[in-house]
Subunit: 124 residues, 4 copies
């Protein structure tokens, strides 16, 4: 079987992969939205720990550091796995939700006003 890759894998296929893993272990009983949101936040914290004392400008080099690379890939994978499972349990279409959110952000951050600025839309 060919390994999965972003270029050809649909979000639905990834969701199904996670759903099957969970179902085989009868873990749906633990996967309330509350618990999944906690797991997601905890995994985000672990990802963040890799960059704690690094300058922002040095953090890309750190993300490419051979000794850390696979750990960082595992942490972001965990974050997305819990996001997919959250969507599975809550019945949310992620691609649709992302499309709506990006459109809403585009209205809050019009290109001409937001270009090159990190300010919150309320401050633009």
């Amino acid at each position: 079987m060919k390994p999965l890759t972003d270029a050809t894998t649909t979000v639905a296929a990834l969701r199904e992969k996670v759903r099957a893993f969970v179902h085989e272990r009868d873990w749906e009983q633990f996967h309330s939205p509350k618990n999944l949101s906690m797991a997601l936040a905890a995994e985000s914290g672990e990802l963040m720990e890799h960059f704690l004392w690094t300058e922002s400008g040095d953090s890309l080099a750190r993300a490419h550091d051979a000794k850390r690379r696979s750990a960082i890939e595992e942490e972001i994978a965990d974050v997305v796995i819990y996001s997919l499972e959250f969507a599975n349990i809550c019945g949310i279409d992620l691609a649709a939700a992302i499309e709506r959110k990006v459109a809403a952000n585009a209205r809050k951050y019009p290109i001409e006003k937001a270009r090159g600025r990190a300010d919150k839309y309320t401050e633009l």
Copy 2:
């Protein structure tokens, strides 16, 4: 243009959507892995706030509550958007990373041992 949906949207298409939004605003300069990991953790915290004082068993109803539904969809969308951008900036293939992580989890949590149990693999 038809709206995006998980069934037919590849991870690469979602990544490109986020990449274009960021690029039009010249925001790559703020998107170090460090900053993106912080944004991801902050958004996870916002998602979690919806379920703070709710019993685990009541949280699915809360996720379906008409008054909260769209806010929750926006929060999980934000989490995934930052995950996609993190992958964009770091050059990580998410589907491949998820496939590897699920395989590693399957070794740590063999079905016969892990079924119906929430214990950490070190305690199985």
Copy 3:
């Protein structure tokens, strides 16, 4: 020297303990408010991991579990240590800030309205 205890230790004494530890190691250079807020969030995530798959009603027993007790005490200590250092670096009087926040919360959550309810003040 007698061990410290909440009954007789001032916040200032705890702050000084943390300040001295940091200063001896010349670590102030890493302790920007940004970095300390990240460390705080990461440690909060570690504390939370102890209660991830536990029912809310079972989590107090878990906090008293002999095998976990000292790890949980260490996590909450880490959270408060980073809070104290954040106050040190930013020059915030924590007792004063807490007194103001509790007073503000008392106005937002008047006893007669808030008693026994977990709703946000905007929903009372």
Copy 4:
């Protein structure tokens, strides 16, 4: 009544202030260790949001920015309030736990090895 200040306020006095606020509202029923750890992580996320897109070296100025100062003081107050309540519910002496943790950190990070370095003790 004189306002509280770190110089003269014991941890026990702050704990009692929080305990009384919670008790008057009959909120102990919501304050499981699980829920409090979530609230703590969510508040840490809110504190962090103030520094999201700021360079580490600019974040101290931001913490002193007149427009943000009181919001930042409120966020760190919230973090410590939930830490105190976590200690109340779990029966943890914070000063003692902090003293033990600082002593443990001093062993893991001996001054001569750790001075001026942000590396984890496993890498020293």
